[in-house]
Amino acid sequence: MALLEVNQLDVRFALRKGEVRALRDINFTLERGERLGIVGESGAGKSVAAFALLNLIAKPGFIAGGEVNFEGQTLNTMSERRLRKVRGNRISMIFQDPMMTLNPVLSIGEQMVESLKAHRRISTKRARAIALDKLQQVQIPSPETRLDQYPHELSGGMRQRIIIAIALLLDPDIIIADEPTTALDVTIQAEIMALLLNLCEQHNVGLILITHDLGVVSQVTQRMLVMYAGRVIEQGPTREIINDPQHPYTQGLINALPQMATPGEQLNQIRGSMPSLSNLPGGCAFHPRCDFIKRADGQTRPACVEQVPGFVTSGNCQVACHMVAEMQEDRRLKEEGQ
């Protein structure tokens, strides 16, 4: 059994103008020590997915269906009291903005000791020793002094290192990192990503990395999910998806990167923009932007407009696209005919 199993997760927001379905039919698993990337543009539902894993969806949002199984326990139906033993302890989170995550009125040491003592019955002295050890692991210079400093005294990169140290504090099984390096400069981002990767490998910690940066996902993760308008549209091994994306949206995203084009030439762009979740087009949510909805004979595939695509298997990947399904069907019929 996988360490973490997400089945048919469904998250909705009850708004005055009606219910908005922020996430639907999310299915994935995470093995111990595995690194999984969740990629998508803003509004695709990546962060909602991360929050839903720990049942942290705030009102008016709620988990309308499906389950999150962690070591056989269902997290989304668990009592708050028991859930608190999992949060931060077995599964910890790293957020995008390190300044928002750290408490500005507590010193670094106090914050670290606080979370250690909340989960374990240990002395303050012992807790400080563990905290110091973690700060050394994230390669913070002069860690003893840092323990007594406040967040505003540290730079952005340093704060994010501290957040990583706090995430590792209780030796969790899984770290969920929501855009951990987006607020940082490139050279600092490279350092932090290398550090995170290194620590996860060393301690055999599973990582769920949420980002919009395909470069980061491709370098850090083993498997990835691509999200669009609240659904997963493609999932599978990272290398396979990056090298040979099947879904037109994934293809578009990768081809739109400046590094994929000849300098000075036109970039390949995806038309239009992501639809609002409260006003999704019928059928495949990507169809108004898709270049492949027409068949070879110039006719629009009716399924793309009318029917939500299910997953088809392509290599080791799962793709939710009518075109891919149709092409596979054609190939199968051809082979049968021979």
């Binding site: 290398a194 919009h212 994929m260 300098p263 036109q266 762009q269 923009s273 639809p275 087009p281």
Partner: protein, 361 residues
């Protein structure tokens, strides 16, 4: 919002336009920046600066040294990209060039005329020729003006002699050229998505037919698929209107694609200027090398970047000598004392580094 709403301008005639742009490439210098410096006071006004110290009243002033002696030339119809990490002074350069900030020292010459000491009335004809695009389209559009009003305002200011018909026609034409439906003029900025707002901001800059555009991180606030759209739009505008760009960004992949020349900045100084292809093929300055190695690529090579010691020092107390020496793996005693100046290499690349000069690197 329906997807048909965003129409992409078609550019069938691209081939010959590129040629035209290339021909103009070897043209003259449009903008010159000489020894530009900009300091921001941290100590408030005169009374705030006074302190009692040992029974005496002393005046203490502290400054952020945002730009320290920057020299740049921008040739007509090129796209000069300025890259660097946050706090390196790249946006300050952009704002000083546009006259939004006045330099503490140094001169800015536009097309042969010194512009940094002109009054706002004297600047007006130059403002029509140079326009700016800002990073955040959510903040740069006036929320109380319709798109029509937003786009008409610069025209009314710079063409007071135009009649209503001319203004409306120009607005319609510029809206079509950036791919926004001219029927949307009655709407307000908040009704549009980020990418569309940035198109409107670009339309506002293009409305007065400028020749020089300063773009300060114009795509950083946008999603990946929208970034490509806006970048294409900026490149089309450059070809069609023979524009010159000063393009500020932190994203090196964008620089590689968009820029004809690149200036790399670190802590208020330019450490390397080179043609884009040369810079990416053969970075000289140790900081440029580290910066290039940090780009996350799609290839399966794992993160292999050059590690830099420590972090960017504070611009309040600048390090002595080369500002980069504290993090540089090649720094020696000379780097700690002597400030390196830009020196032209054999292939025209200009680098400010003692190690490169001495052949240690």
């Amino acid at each position: 919002m329906s997807a048909t709403a965003t129409r992409i301008p078609v550019t069938e005639t691209r081939g010959d336009q590129t040629d035209a742009a290339d021909k103009a490439q070897d043209a003259e210098t449009l903008l010159e920046i000489h020894d530009l410096e900009k300091r921001f006071s941290l100590s408030g006004d005169f009374l705030d600066q006074l302190r009692f110290k040992g029974g005496k009243l002393v005046r203490k002033q502290e400054h952020v040294h945002a730009i320290n002696g920057v020299n740049l030339n921008i040739n007509r119809s090129e796209a000069l990209c300025v890259v660097g990490e946050s706090g390196c002074g790249k946006s300050t350069v952009a704002r000083t060039v546009m006259g939004l900030l006045s330099p503490s020292a140094g001169e800015i010459h536009y097309d042969g005329t010194r512009i940094d000491n002109l009054s706002s009335r004297q600047l007006l004809p130059f403002r029509k020729r140079m326009q700016m695009i800002f990073q955040n389209p959510y903040a740069s559009l006036n929320p109380r003006m319709t798109i029509q009003q937003t786009l008409e305002e610069p025209l009314r200011l710079h063409h007071p002699d135009w009649n209503r018909q001319q203004v409306v026609e120009q607005v319609e034409q510029v809206m079509a050229s950036v791919g926004i439906d001219p029927d949307w003029g009655k709407r307000f900025g908040h009704e549009f998505s980020g990418g569309q707002r940035q198109r409107i901001a670009i339309a506002r800059a293009l409305a007065v037919d400028p020749e020089f555009i300063v773009a300060d991180e114009p795509i950083s606030a946008l999603d990946v698929s929208i970034q490509a759209q806006v970048l294409n739009l900026l490149m089309d505008a450059r070809r069609e209107r023979n524009l010159t760009y000063l393009f500020i960004t932190h994203d090196l992949a964008v620089v590689e694609h968009f820029g004809t020349r690149v200036a790399v900045m670190y802590l208020g100084t330019v450490c390397e200027i080179a043609d884009t292809a040369t810079l990416f093929a053969k970075p000289r300055h140790p900081y440029t090398q580290a910066l290039l190695s940090a780009i996350p690529r799609l290839e399966d090579d794992g993160p292999q970047h050059i590690r830099l010691e420590g972090e960017v020092p504070t611009p309040v107390n600048l390090p002595s000598g080369c500002v980069f020496h504290g993090r540089c793996p090649y720094a020696n005693a000379r780097c700690k004392q002597e400030v390196p100046v830009l020196q032209t290499q054999d292939d025209g690349v200009r680098v400010a580094c003692h190690a490169v000069e001495e052949g240690r690197l």
